[in-house]
Amino acid sequence: MHRTGELYGHFETLEQQKESAAFGMWIFLVTEVLFFGGLFLTYTINRHAFGTAFGAGSNTLDIKLGGFNTVVLIMSSLTMAMAVWCAQVGKKQLVSIFLIATLGLGTVFLGVKVIEYKQKFDHHLIPGQGFDMRYRSEHPTPADDPKEIAIEKEELEKTFAVDPDTNAHGQLYFSLYFGMTGLHALHMIVGAGLLLWLIKESFAGRFTPQYHTPVEIVGLYWHFVDIVWIYLFPLLYLIDRHR
């Protein structure tokens, strides 16, 4: 059985039925705000206490990849919003196209994230045994720019001079980095699954101006995930670039 948007007995009008569905999604998003809010709070307190090490950790992140991902995610929000619009005005084929574009952009985001995580593994920046903030500058590969490595070495020397426990506090930064971006990525994966389902339904022509609640509600979720990244990007990547 699939829903086609007929009026259920416990609603008075179709409009009320639709609004209730969106309202339910918003209630869920409130819990998500507080869920991610707790993580941001933890981050704020630790960053305040260990600012030097957090700055050094943040500066190891690749701003080009992070910036690229921000653009990709905002674009995916635009295509998602367009998919909702197409459903509202009854452009059935375009709904599928925009949903596929959203899924594609979401996948690109996750792919870039994999590249970033891989770099952190290569540079010994995974919290736990073997973690060493100085690993990269002491073991440069031929692909690394010698100038960049020299700057990094100098910065790390200053960091360790201010905070001798940079390796302990750096692990806190990277735990939060992987925890927060990891949970964000998990939300993206869930969103991708929802999009796959929407694409399948849209191929069957199920979304019409009268009934497109699933597109709208998944859209709300997708935009929320975008908002989380809007905060994660400056807080994780950009906090200490200005020296």
């Binding site: 918003w26 998003l29 905060y231 990007f233 400056p234």
Partner: protein
């Protein structure tokens, strides 16, 4: 039915504003505004998030009931942030959460640098 349909023009305008915001954030991060770097970054992020909520998520055209839920979420978040930060700020811990030794020993000592 009185569903409000937001036109693609608005979506593209919001998209352009979000892109501009991203550019400004990155630019601002490399300028030295001292203490205000973080304020500027969070202000831009909040403006961007507000645009997404109002237009992409249709909050501006939603029923009052939904808008109330959104305001409540921000309010609860503010309570959590403000009270917890006030607590941390007013407890004596000499600027640190724990002594360096506590961390080093809890990690088994292998990361003490």
């Amino acid at each position: 039915m009185s569903e409000h349909i937001v036109s693609p023009k608005i979506y593209f305008a919001i998209f352009a504003a979000l892109m501009a915001g991203t550019g400004i954030t990155i630019w601002a991060a490399f300028q030295n505004f001292g203490k205000f770097n973080i304020v500027i970054a969070l202000a831009i992020a909040t403006i961007k998030a507000t645009l997404v909520v109002l237009y992409f998520m249709h909050a501006r055209y939603s029923p009052k009931r939904t808008q109330l839920v959104i305001v409540c979420s921000v309010f609860w978040l503010a309570i959590m942030l403000a009270l917890t930060l006030a607590d941390y700020d007013t407890r004596p811990h000499e600027g640190r959460l724990a002594s360096a030794n506590t961390y080093a020993s809890s990690f088994g000592g292998y990361c003490s640098g």
